[in-house]
């Protein structure tokens, strides 16, 4: 089996995770024995990833920076078989959710995770959550630095942080190391963007107070340029300000975005900078050796440049149209010539977005072992990524993915839909998300048509908590409940691309479930008629405004 090219636990990390399992086992026993009330137990189970859904407990497993070894992925498949119903759901936060866990078995499931240096710590609850990153990290052609080094540094610092384990509300951090932001850093509690200043030094732009949910906001720049070794001191200062002053009287106003909104970013900056000034150059300043030791573990695999034009690939492109389309949409440039980044679509026509069976997970692991240096990534768009594939292997990878049902050439297209679990699983939801995604997916299944329509991001949430990120969909769909009927509100013009981040605008009255496909169809038709050369759906929308879309939709449904 190939070596991993990302952080490997040492005995300290392993000891902590093992001790955490034993602590949780004791807590579950006390709950089952009635020594803990549900009110007392809830925050304890949440910070171990155990969530109570509509029908059962759900275990949310952390996949730090979305990076998995094949050994870990196979083990996840085994856990899904042993403790769940043989499948799992990859989420927008690069986690894996198992939907049918029994409380009595949860400690054993978590202990099994620890066997492959994984955990479910802080995947839920009012704590610093699993830190997410660009899923192309360490492979992307446009990357300045691998953001995962910093995710790992933050993972350790935030794990069981004694001061920040009872925050006003959850706290999500995302990091990108590329100018093309694939981590949506402007819609996180803190977004970090690595960039090089005029002197050539690489540091962080620190963005604060972004987020979706019921009060969507675009994050504001707190610090233009932060030296890398001061990252933890600056984060600790920011979290301390939030822990002290964030609202606790109303959970809907408790995120840091509300604090920033209420006091203003200037006041927020003054508070954070004052706190930071009192602690910087202290124990949180990162020693160069510490950064290097972690960075070394993320050293890229030793890939040799290879030929970029491969006759077999060119030939297959001509004879197999689906493969040609797949090359366009699912294959991205790698930093090493002759290699590529391949995205396996977890959105085949009509399937629930992001689901994978245990057998499919094992199949993906086999492909990664054979063709991608034993490494798999989870994207926040709920797909799986092979970060290091030789161009000459693309036909074989494509065929193997076809056998798994993950070869759909639809990445970034209209059927590459993000959807939350919705009312099929979630206790908070007002409406179902998955069946709506499935209907749209079936309606637009034809690949040539999808490619003609081009880049179009549909994002669906089953309630205003916005787990499906509908605010930043080119087309956003929000499920609402009106007197017991599930209705869907459409919004247009959202975007998470860096420099273009925008929140969508509601188009008009919500439509019934069986009219959603017609409405989307009307939106697409409006675009196809009005588009100019090179325009994506969202570009056309920005140019011509909502009126033509609105007219078409409400005339049609």
């Amino acid at each position: 089996m190939p070596d991993t090219h990302f952080y490997r636990y040492d005995d300290y990390d392993r000891a902590l995770v093992a001790e955490r399992v034993e602590q949780f086992r004791d807590q579950v026993q006390r709950r089952l024995a009635g020594e803990l009330t549900e009110e007392q137990f809830k925050p304890l189970r949440l910070t171990n990833g155990l969530y109570l859904q509509l029908h059962a407990y759900m275990l949310r497993i952390a996949i730090p920076y979305g990076t998995l070894s094949t050994r870990q992925l196979r083990h996840l498949a085994a856990i899904a078989r042993k403790y769940d119903r043989g499948y799992g759901h990859f989420t927008t936060r690069q986690n894996l959710q198992l939907n049918w866990i029994k409380l009595e078995q949860a400690p054993d499931a978590i202990a099994m995770l620890a066997e492959v240096d994984m955990h479910a710590i802080q995947t839920s609850g009012n704590v610093i959550r699993n830190v997410t990153a660009d899923h192309f990290a360490g492979a992307a052609a446009d990357e300045i630095e691998d953001p995962r080094v910093w995710c790992e540094i933050i993972r350790q610092w935030s794990t069981l942080h004694p001061e920040f384990s009872f925050l006003p509300r959850k706290f999500k951090i995302a990091i990108t190391g590329s100018p093309n932001d694939r981590a949506a850093v402007r819609v996180h509690d803190i977004g970090l963007r690595l960039w090089a200043n005029e002197a050539g030094e690489v540091g962080f732009e620190v963005i604060v107070g972004g987020g979706l949910g019921r009060t969507p906001m675009i994050g504001k720049t707190l610090r233009e340029f932060l030296p890398k070794d001061e990252l933890l001191a600056y984060l600790e200062a920011t979290l301390r300000v939030y822990n002290r002053y964030g609202r606790r009287d109303n959970i809907y106003k408790a995120r840091i975005k509300i604090l920033v909104h209420e006091i203003g970013v200037e006041k927020m900056r003054a508070e954070v900078e004052a706190e930071y000034a009192a602690t910087k150059d202290g124990a949180l300043k990162l020693a160069p050796e510490t950064i290097e030791a972690i960075a070394r573990q993320f050293a890229p695999p030793p890939l040799r440049p290879k030929r970029t034009k491969v006759p077999e690939v060119e030939a297959l492109k001509l004879e197999n149209r689906a493969f040609a389309l797949w090359l366009k949409s699912n294959v991205a440039p790698h930093r090493v010539p002759g290699h590529a980044i391949v995205t396996a679509s977890l959105k085949p026509a009509g399937a629930p977005p992001g689901d994978a069976s245990a057998a499919q997970m094992e199949g993906v692991a086999d492909i990664a072992d054979a063709f991608s240096q034993g490494e798999v990534r989870v994207s926040h768009e709920q797909n799986l990524v092979f970060p290091h594939v030789a161009v000459e292997s693309l036909p074989e990878v494509y065929r193997a993915l076809e056998r798994l049902g993950f070869a759909e050439a639809n990445i970034g297209k209209i059927t590459d839909i993000i959807a939350c679990p919705g009312l099929d699983y979630c206790a908070l939801a007002n409406a179902r998300s998955i069946p709506v995604a499935q209907r749209i997916s079936n309606h637009f299944a034809e690949l040539s048509r999808q490619h003609d329509i081009g880049d179009l991001k549909i994002k669906i949430s089953g309630c205003i908590n916005a787990c499906g990120h509908h605010h930043v969909g080119h087309i956003g769909i929000l499920g609402v409940d009106k007197n017991g009927v599930e209705l869907y509100q459409l919004s247009l013009g959202g975007d998470v691309d860096f420099g273009r981040t925008a929140l969508g605008t509601i188009l008009g009255p919500a439509v019934e479930a069986d009219k959603v496909v017609e409405a989307v169809d009307a939106l697409v038709a409006t675009y196809l008629e009005a588009r100019q050369a090179g325009e994506r759906f969202v570009d056309t929308y920005r140019r011509i405004g909502a009126a033509p879309f609105k007219e078409r939709v409400y005339g049609a449904v």
């Binding site: 300290y12 000891a15 001790e19 610092w157 069981l160 001061e163 009872f166």
Partner: protein
């Protein structure tokens, strides 16, 4: 409500009780000579007093007794100890035995705090330096 003190002989006068909405950095002279400060957890999910505790210990150099009061449960103990609390009011069954074990529940810590425990990062640095030397 039972009281658990790590330093049973420490003086408890003069004492100061602080609401978790108070800014401890503004206490100034009121801290002078104080030997016991009680911080409050109105709900155990309200974590403001953790920040107050660290500021008192690490920023203001407060060396007297620091007591956690209100909704104080044994599962908070590893966090409370790391933030500098050394005295606890709790009526939870099993709190005393849990306190005796709380410091060793986790043999590894990642964050430097005023409790002086060496973090995993510091221990790794020490290991590397001793190998290098």
């Amino acid at each position: 409500m039972a009281l658990f003190r790590l330093n049973p002989l420490a003086p408890q006068e003069p004492a100061l009780s602080i609401a978790n909405t108070d800014d401890v950095l503004q206490l100034g002279d009121r801290l002078k000579g104080v030997r016991l400060i009680a911080l409050r957890f109105p709900k155990f999910t309200d974590g403001r007093a953790y920040s107050q505790a660290r500021l008192l210990r690490e920023r203001l150099g407060y060396g007297g007794e620091l007591r956690a009061t209100g909704a104080v449960f044994l599962d908070q103990l590893p966090f409370l100890l790391r933030c500098g609390f050394d005295s606890f009011e709790s009526d939870q069954k099993g709190f005393g035995p849990a306190l005796a074990k709380a410091r060793t529940l986790f043999s590894v810590v990642y964050q430097p705090t005023g409790d002086g425990r060496a973090t995993a990062g510091q221990l790794r640095l020490g290991r590397r330096n001793s190998v290098a030397a």
